[in-house]
């Protein structure tokens, strides 16, 4: 039982934080958001140089074989900086699927390109009707000669408008919500029958709606029809990563708020002297520390092989992160007053990011339901 980082992890944290402190001020972020893809290719190259883009991959694929703790460190720093780049989409999600489910040939082909920053790969999974159910896949895959033909539409493909290729989940057999029968296919963005509609999300990030109409592919990840457990494993890694990012954002909001309380004067005194606000700030700290504890739990359970225990830990973490994020975000805006309502101040942007994180991979209510259905955390 140990919550400390080792020396290498501390070093990693310091170098990421330094890079972001130098290059990711709030004003810089605004500029990056206005670039053609809605994020900074220059920063992406910095991340590649620092080894962040290949971090989870084996050394032979240009990575450093980092685990969930390393991902947590990077994501928390991204959360503090409100980084716009497709790290979750390309490295954690798509990279995770290839790393954990791809054939040796696919890994050797794709992972080095992700690690070098040359390839943006996106995971196209959710659909209009699926809400948060990972098994709800209506998109179909049909065998055709040596390959597959895919038909369907995918929603909220994170950074889908920057992706050169997609990992698309599609159903080969079974009912729409069956876990069995789902395959994962590598589809080129430029293939005939593929159309991408990119858009900004409310938190300033990017996503796309993807439509596939007779799109052909020869490449599958894992065993077509039996990829659900892989999807779940990688979704759990993503949940742990998002929890860490949310903690970074919440910590930043809390610090901004406490600093504001010390400097903002009304009635001739700093508003931090008012007990009603002091207690609110204390409540925010409690919510933050509880969230941090659960993000750590999620990190330490993210690679666990026991799917039931792992899923329960992720659900519990997602509930806590969702609730803490909502509370801290709303209170941070409230205590900042009018200035917190403006686009010019960073606090509102943090608020919007934690709001969107709650809706990714299942919100607090959804995961509370899952926990209750599976008997909860304390054995009766």
């Amino acid at each position: 039982m140990d919550f400390a980082l080792n020396d290498e992890q501390r070093l990693l944290g310091e170098s990421v934080e330094r890079l972001l402190a130098d290059n990711y001020t709030f004003n810089a972020r605004k500029r990056y958001g206005q670039e053609p893809e809605g994020w900074s290719r220059a920063m992406w190259r910095h991340y590649a140089e620092l080894g962040l883009l290949g971090m989870p991959f084996d050394e032979k694929y240009g990575g450093s074989a980092g685990g969930p703790v390393e991902t947590m460190i990077v994501m928390e720093a991204f959360g503090r900086a409100l980084a716009l780049e497709p790290y979750l989409a390309a490295v954690v999600l798509a990279g995770g699927l290839v790393r954990l489910g791809g054939s040796e040939a696919l890994r050797a082909d794709l992972l080095p390109k992700i690690a070098s920053g040359d390839l943006i790969l996106a995971f196209a999974h959710a659909e209009r009707q699926s809400r948060y159910n990972l098994a709800d896949v209506a998109t179909t895959a049909r065998r055709d000669g040596s390959g597959y033909v895919i038909d369907g539409t995918k929603s909220l493909v994170l950074h889908g408008d920057s992706a050169a290729r997609f990992l698309v989940s599609a159903r080969l057999s079974g009912g729409q919500r069956d876990q069995a029968g789902i395959g994962l296919f590598l589809v080129d963005a430029k293939s005939p029958g593929v159309s991408v509609r990119g858009y900004a999300t409310v938190d300033g990030m990017r996503a796309a709606e993807l439509s596939l109409s007779g799109a052909r592919t020869d490449a599958a990840i894992g065993t077509p029809g039996a990829t659900y457990p892989l999807i779940e494993r990688v979704a759990d890694r993503a949940i742990a990563a998002l929890c860490a990012e949310a903690v970074g954002a919440m910590a930043a909001m809390h610090e901004l708020t406490v600093d504001y309380m010390k400097t903002r004067k009304q009635f001739g005194v700093p508003i931090g002297g008012f007990q009603v606000l002091q207690h609110r700030a204390a409540d925010m700290l409690i919510a933050l520390e509880q969230a941090r504890s659960m993000a750590m739990l999620a990190t330490m359970m993210a690679a666990d092989d026991d799917a039931r225990e792992r899923r329960q830990a992720m659900s519990a973490a997602k509930v806590q992160i969702g609730r803490s994020g909502r509370f801290i975000g709303q209170q941070a805006i409230q205590i900042h007053g009018g200035i917190g309502m403006t686009m010019e101040h960073s606090v509102g942007h943090y608020f919007k990011r934690v709001t969107t994180i709650d809706t990714m991979f299942g919100d607090a209510d959804y995961h509370l339901g899952l926990l209750a259905e599976t008997g909860g955390l304390v054995a009766a």
Partner: protein
């Protein structure tokens, strides 16, 4: 970062678990599970079993019975004890006055008191709060004048838990009325049978009698019963309150109560099916389980930090543990109340402990204690420094406001 305990720690936990299982008398365990009141004898019996094992005061200095356990071992010991569920050793002795005497007392005081605290030969109670000094403890008025080798104590203490059982009371008294309010306070040990002491029971909203008023009318206390230096009592009190908070998350107790909650919710029917299968009730239980898991992790972080710093300086983060721990205990008690539904109504407390009462329980066996427990649990956010005081501490000590 690693969630796992070491093989040695797991072996230790298993040893503690096995001991709790075999050594805890069944009658005491049943009362704990059912949430019924423990008698004085139950607490004495159990603490003496622990003391015979050498485990009553593990956190004390080794020469006075401490075990030298690491913070992780201490955590595991408390967690297993709470989950058994077993009562904890009497905290007024073991966690409050004991460490104060061991740290600030003189040799004779240690010799005289510590072994008897460990074995619960002396039952101690706490004389801090007064009618006019609750959250603002330093405004206390009970006075002690030093005359001919005695302190003459006059005044009133209140909320004194188990004063009706106590042999001794440790008191904060004002020895210098002219000094600034924190600076004129001393820490005095007073034998309860000394002439001039009157104990008056306070009945709380749960119908029980845990707390009392204690009146001092020119009570003669030998000067040798002063702990440390005169007028330095506030420092010792702060030390004591810091210790009090560190064990206050009560994660193990809450786990045991959730287990009970789920068992009862499986027995109670609602709409033709067990209440536990009701989606809304299930979500409420899951929500408190998440809170508890987060608290457990937060507590482990505090324990790990304590191990790393090697110090026994109270961590201001313990205020977080106190606030969350008390809130969670209260939520669970609410859910237990809701589980029994209308059978929470019959007032069965007056018959508890009445030997002549041998009528069957009204409603299910488990129902009678749940409403009183719910009422009783409201105390947890008030005692030990109210949750509002804890937030003041967080604002000042952690946030610098």
């Amino acid at each position: 970062m690693d969630l796992r305990f070491t093989p040695d720690e797991i072996a230790f936990r298993d040893e503690v678990r096995a001991f709790m299982r075999s050594a805890l008398p069944a009658a005491i365990r049943d009362k704990m599970i059912e949430g019924r009141r423990l008698a004085k004898d139950d607490l004495v019996t159990w603490q003496r079993i622990l003391n015979a094992k050498g485990w009553a005061v593990p956190h004390w200095p080794k020469e006075w019975g401490g075990t030298g356990w690491s913070p992780v071992q201490l955590y595991l010991y408390r967690d297993e004890m709470q989950q058994a569920p077993a009562p904890e050793p009497l905290q007024f002795g073991v966690n409050m006055v004991g460490p104060v005497i061991a740290t600030f007392g003189n040799g004779a005081q240690k010799q005289r008191f510590l072994p008897r605290i460990a074995n619960l030969d002396d039952w101690w109670c706490q004389g801090f709060s007064e009618p006019g000094a609750g959250s603002d403890l330093a405004s206390l008025k009970t006075s002690a004048r030093c005359v001919d080798g005695y302190y003459i104590v006059s005044g009133q203490k209140t909320w004194t838990t188990f004063a009706q059982y106590a042999d001794w009371i440790f008191c904060l008294v004002r020895t210098d009325p002219a000094a600034k309010k924190q600076e004129g306070i001393s820490f005095l040990l007073i034998e309860m049978k000394t002439p001039g002491i009157t104990v008056r029971p306070i009945q709380t909203i749960d119908g029980g009698h845990e707390v009392n008023e204690v009146f001092f009318d020119d009570v003669k206390v030998p000067a040798e019963n002063l702990v440390g230096e005169e007028n330095k009592g506030w420092n010792y009190a702060k030390f004591l309150l810091g210790n009090e908070r560190s064990g206050i998350a009560r994660v193990g107790i809450s786990k045991a109560r959730i287990r009970r909650l789920k068992q009862l919710a499986a027995l109670e029917q609602a709409g033709g099916k067990p209440l536990i299968e009701d989606e809304r009730f299930g979500a409420k239980i899951a929500a408190v389980e998440v809170e508890l898991k987060a608290l457990e992790m937060t507590q482990l972080r505090v324990v790990a930090a304590e191990r790393a710093s090697n110090g026994n300086k109270p961590d201001p983060a313990s205020s977080i543990l106190k606030i969350k721990g008390s809130e969670i205990q209260q939520i669970i008690s609410e859910l237990l109340l809701e589980v029994v539904g209308p059978y929470a109504l019959p007032d069965q407390v007056p018959h508890e402990g009445d030997e002549r009462w041998n009528e069957p329980a009204i409603g299910p066996d488990w129902a009678g204690s749940l409403a009183p427990q719910y009422f009783n649990m409201r105390k947890t956010s008030i005692y030990g420094g109210s949750n509002e005081i804890q937030k003041n501490i967080i604002a000042k000590a952690i946030l610098g406001l």
